[in-house]
Symmetry: C2
Subunit: 203 residues, 2 copies
DNA sequence: GTCTATAGTGCGATAGAC
DNA sequence: GTCTATCGCACTATAGAC
């Protein structure tokens, strides 16, 4: 097998595939799952609905990939934020960093994050099960960080981990529905302030 | 005009209309907006899709009424909770009572509340605008209670009303996605605990 | 790889008998 | 008021020319 054809492994094809995914994330974030047609997505990236089938076997496969990428982004953002902490960081420091990172994704209105927050509970069951798996595979999650902080005694045992998680995740999801563009504060400042409130709630 | 025909003003017809609404709320809560067909709703209350058109002019009119009823329930629950307070209640007491009432609706998995929380951001624009109006017409809202508490100096001026509202509403919405049935605590106990956390966050 | 045409399908909505 | 039959439409998906 000659390598010359593989030297630049269909780079433009992969690029176009990525452009389709980006367009889909944008349209899904804007219109939701039900109201998003392949025609809309195609229009968003200057091609035709039928052409999408060259890159994705079905509409739901395209949607699935957008959602999985979103889960990956959330996971990566949290993992990076936690990894960037000094070694002596406390369990609460770690939780806080992860929460701030999650919030920031939603506040900056990352298309994948907003799309995920909007459509994740509208997906057909089959698709949802796959997403669930991906979410469980995330390297580090709010649930673990919370229980770690509780076990370390840094959070009062009176705080219920399940409820605290609902508080944090619910706020993150809701955040992406709110238009931060009307606010004069920077996304970082908003994320910081909200993180402070959340930590006060669970402390 | 004779009153005999109006004595019992098509009671059974109104009852059936209500049964349809209840069925729609149940199916919408379970399946979301996109996945809910008139066939499903009809099946849920033992009739036929076409028969629904005798009671509602269109699918979206049926959905709209479910959503408006949900908004009304949230509003009424909050208003009642606040009205039940003694006259000397503080602004924070009032906020707390309203929040607890909202949470309780979501935790008990009231079909209308769950349906609303699940579908409100999937609705066609036209429908959403009507819902927005209804939400603004609610007698008492979290936003007002929050600003009242801040103006009364009962909540530190450092707390941002907008962010606090996102925290509270987001948590309420998310709560209804969580299955409280797996929890041994009573809904009241859960609502109380979550309210405490929320108040700690904004305090 | 792209684009046109069209097959296939599911659902909202209506007609009309009863 | 109910139920059957069906229309019309929008959208997913495929066929096939280029």
């Amino acid at each position: 097998m000659k390598t010359s054809t593989a030297r630049r492994p269909r780079a433009s094809s992969l690029e176009k595939r990525q452009r389709i995914l980006d367009a889909a994330a944008r349209v899904l974030a804007r219109q939701g799952y039900a109201e998003t047609t392949l025609h809309d997505v195609a229009g968003e990236c200057g091609t035709y609905a039928a052409s999408l089938y060259y890159y994705f076997p079905s509409r739901d496969d395209l949607v699935k990939e957008v959602v999985l990428l979103a889960v990956g982004r959330f996971g990566a953002a949290m993992a990076e934020a936690v990894a960037a902490l000094p070694a002596q960081a406390t369990a609460i420091d770690r939780l806080k960093a992860a929460v701030r990172a999650m919030l920031l994704l939603s506040i900056t209105k990352d298309d994948y994050a907003v799309a995920y927050n909007r459509i994740f509970d509208q997906l057909p069951d089959a698709l949802n099960r796959e997403v669930e798996q991906a979410r469980n595979a995330v390297p580090i999650g709010v649930a673990e960080l919370l229980t770690a902080a509780i076990e370390a005694g840094e959070i009062g045992a009176g705080t219920d981990a399940k409820l605290a998680r609902i508080l944090i995740i619910g706020t993150t999801h809701w955040m992406s529905k709110w238009s931060a563009s009307k606010d004069q504060r920077s996304p970082h400042k908003i994320a910081e302030q909200m993180t402070e409130m959340l930590m006060r709630a669970v402390a």
